[in-house]
Chain length 345, copies 4
């Protein structure tokens, strides 16, 4: 079988290196082009030396893209940069999966309010499909442009979708308390990811105004058909990768614990990457994999539902979910290349 | 000046070693007796080798207590053990500060429901004063028996007290999402504090049934004069020490951000160990100290108050707060021996 | 093709779970039996919950072994236990790879001197082949019993073999300073692997008497044909997995840096899991893989050779090397199932 | 008593904040000036927010130095910057303790060879006293300019001094294998101290050419009266603070273990900050303190001496040793302000 030809735009960050890690062992595709403007001419393994002997591809400039035949391209770029690339290449034959936040929201207006920057390609909001395979597989199959979900939104949406879909919780007062590993802050050295500021430490950040708040809330609106209100608070964990999200919601009526479990089992019956756990999951339980592990419980004393949702932010929250989308778009088995087993410990 | 004579019952745990660390540099007291049943005859620095040359006291059995003249005794023991010691010594002349959970709740009935064990000295519930100096300094001054607050309750109560005291929040739906360092699980090796189960990892535990839930809730009831309902969820951080508690509460009326700050400033005007922070505090900001750092904010979009509360669980959440109580009980300056500066990084 | 049938004796430790992780994705074998005496009847994923949905095999007692047809069996057991199993099953048709230290040394006498315990199956020393594929592939191919090398010895031997083989260093004064992750101490909770004893900490242990000293030295003797003398000092790193070994040796004559590189390139020309690195490797560069990364340099000023050797102790230092041996014994491609890519970060 | 007036030049780094932490609780001195060119006008606690309420001094520019009466000044600056300040102020009445490497070596020639930069104040090499109180207390007492020792040299020199002083080891082949916490790389965010490059990781760096090699070697020469040759290899630990140095040396004659202990006991009989340990010390055993913990042993089998030396790199390896020097220079008790107790865990 001829392999599909894949391009990766952006090589220096974690999403780029995770895409390469996953696609290298994917049987149905081959990486034919990796671009980097700052490191063109170097090897991919010069940028990520641990991949010496595994991914020694020569990096090229995006300007050389016409030299390549491509079926699909991943954009592993910061928000604000992606929109320009999408504008430039949206009418090419290759499909695009954008891992940035540039096309995840509903409109230019909402984007500019929460991202505090101008959007130069507002047409993209109509074209882009929100790439959450557990919710939108049919649309993803036919999409030309995918907005790959953010890491926090992935954990929160998968944790809440069954409840919202069944309209079982008060939608205007959902508490989402998330804790993320440091790789969520990117690969560039800065105060926030300086070792001694993170190690043996813990703090909240981005209270009230984190951009993922609106991304979560807009998808919640769609799932529930109601206007939701989300209080989202991220915290920074002294770990490399992983997100654990603790969700608190009040049911609209008295529940049974078993009812909750049946609801989630039914909703995720055909979702190969969602594991419903018997005990509270830990982030290392999914490290290095595309799993989202969920645990749900109901507190009779307080009449509250608690959901714990755990993912690897770089995989299910970025590169793995992107490959999942790619599999669906290319008509492949959705688990192809993604049968990753947790590295634990 | 003659120094006050202090005994420490229980030498092998973290609260014991932290008490010794703090009291060693305290100008007005001297440690005259440290007991350990399992290590009697050994030096304190045999049990905690990093204290070689600093605390080489010979450990004795509790049975030798009559050989010592004592003004005050700390019980650094597990719950279930403390109650027996208090029963045995409650009518001695020395004062007692119990660092366990045995006398923090309102009654035998509540204790047995949440601790799932019998209480053999229910008379103690009447006698014990809940040793939170920011709330109950006057009572502590005259107390003979102090129930030193739990670590999670300390962080939660100090974070919520001003709001509850002013009856400014809906008291029946308070979300308390706490994250603690591993020392909270004690010094004995077990699966929960095995390095590779904790490092680069994170998880929730004790959902719905953690004993500190009721300790928090009963004090909330007292402060607010209302029946409160608390949803408390602890999580285990890959750090040695520190608790960060994120609190979500809905105000009973529309607030102003500035109003919130004035409320807290007034409430804690005379509390030397509460620092009101301009930014979100991190747990390392208080490491090794008796501070509780608080950050409060109001989200107009969602009409929610968020409070971040940070302590060192072994100090403000245990040994430091106990020494604070001791200072008050002995009529000393309350900050004596507690002018500790954060070790950061 | 019919798959080879594999048994794993011992399920609760890290080597057991790593064997399962690797073999699950191996195309040519199937795990047909996993035994555990303490957990027989439970699922493998009850013992290692992160493998829920991946490895839900029912654990059986070793007494049921006759119910299974087996081509090869791994012993993932502590030393002292393995020798008994080998004695019991050494004449069965299935091949045995023993991951313990019970058959790595040259004789009962040496074993009893360094392990301070009796050896009940001394005949095994003759039969066992030391399973270092880079040195003994031909012998491994025909072996019935493999003594899988220790983790420290693997890193040290691969680092020194080219120099010793060429008789280029003074063999009686080799300094091997090793640093290991905590999983080397096993999965059982004890003081040495208690989180707060390891986190943000570092120490040496086992000075002068660590058992791996003699394992290294005996292999060094064989490679060099001389009597070597090894000073081996292990240290405990606050990391889960990984060993970095720093080796100091004096050349027997003045060297050129380039000579050193050519020596290693030639020696490891056909070793798919040894990577010769241009810069000092870090332990995360090989995490989750079967690689041994080597860096060599010569200091003209002091006339010393320095070698840095890095492995994942659970994979190249245990389960991965064992599967490598299995591949050779079963006549498979030696990299089958072992094309693992580092998880970094 | 009037307190001595102290200035600190350089406020943004770790040595600056550690000096403030120590001096704040020092009974005989007061900090009267802290300078920062980049942050002049801000509070010290704006730069180090965890010191809010503890050190709210306004930072000033060095140009304002004449507004202050000063007895002693600490230079908490990078090498290359200090030399300029010393040149400018060397004839003022205040004493100077320079924490950089600018005046630790023997001459301009050696400096320029190892630091690869020009030295603009070579006269300083004559004037500066190497501030190791255990070796040079008498000279320090009368010094006007102190070159405060580097962190690695402190751990290595204290570990080897008794052996060298007694000429008991071969001086031309000393192996010094050091492992340091991340704060040794400074407070500025860069790749080397990026969290995910350090966490769960470990590597060697600066092989053969690290500047501390020559600093160690020159002091060894002086102590032994011989020409020494030092192989020094630093490694980067995933910990905030602490250095553990493992030293290997061959004795010039057969030794007894007890002889070694007597040698060290005698040599350090009057050194309040050197603790001779019965077991291998860990870096957390000295965290937050001015201790250097030493462990020595002799291996009969190999005829080698092994020394383990442990310090807190920011205290004994920088700010604490500087305050120790200050105490001696000002005629104070040498332990004043330095009775720090380890924070462990």
């Amino acid at each position: 079988m001829t392999k599909y030809k894949i391009g990766i735009i952006g090589a220096t960050g974690y999403t780029g290196s995770e895409l390469v890690r996953i696609l290298t062992n994917h049987p149905d595709v081959e990486i034919t082009m990796i671009t980097s403007e700052s490191r063109a001419g170097d090897l991919f393994s010069d940028v990520h030396p641990y991949l010496q002997g595994i991914a020694d591809d020569v990096l090229v400039s995006l300007d050389q893209i016409d030299d390549y035949e491509l079926d699909l391209v991943f954009l592993a770029l910061p928000h604000g940069v992606s929109m320009d690339i999408v504008r430039r290449f949206h009418d090419r034959s290759f499909k695009i999966i954008d891992l940035s936040g540039d096309f995840r929201l509903s409109s230019q207006k909402v984007y500019e309010e929460w991202y505090k920057m101008d959007h130069i390609y507002p047409e993209g909001f109509e074209k882009a499909i929100f790439g959450c395979p557990e919710l939108y597989a049919a649309k993803i199959k036919d999409a030309h442009l995918i907005a790959n979900p953010g890491c926090f939104p992935t954990s929160a949406i998968l944790g809440l979708a069954p409840l919202l879909h069944a309209n079982l919780i008060e939608s205007d007062r959902i508490i989402i308390d998330s804790k993320t590993g440091v790789t969520g802050a990117g690969i560039k050295a800065k105060n926030v990811n300086l070792y001694s500021n993170v190690n043996d430490n813990f703090k909240a950040y981005g209270l009230k105004h984190h951009r993922h708040t609106i991304e979560i809330q807009e998808i919640m609106d769609k799932i529930s058909g109601e206007r939701t209100l989300v209080q989202f608070t991220p915290h920074l964990l002294p770990v490399d990768r992983g997100i654990l999200t603790t969700i608190y919601a009040r049911p609209t009526r008295i529940l049974e614990e078993s009812e909750l479990h049946e609801l989630y089992s039914a909703f995720y019956a055909h979702a190969p990457f969602v594991r419903l756990r018997k005990q509270e999951p830990a982030i290392k339980d999914v490290r290095g994999t595309n799993y989202c592990d969920l645990y749900t419980t109901y507190d009779q004393r307080t009449n509250m539902v608690i959901v714990i949702s755990v993912i690897d932010n770089l995989i299910k929250g970025a590169a793995g979910q992107a490959v999942h989308n790619m599999n669906i778009m290319l008509g492949l088995d959705e688990t192809q290349g993604l049968k990753l087993i947790p590295l634990n410990p």
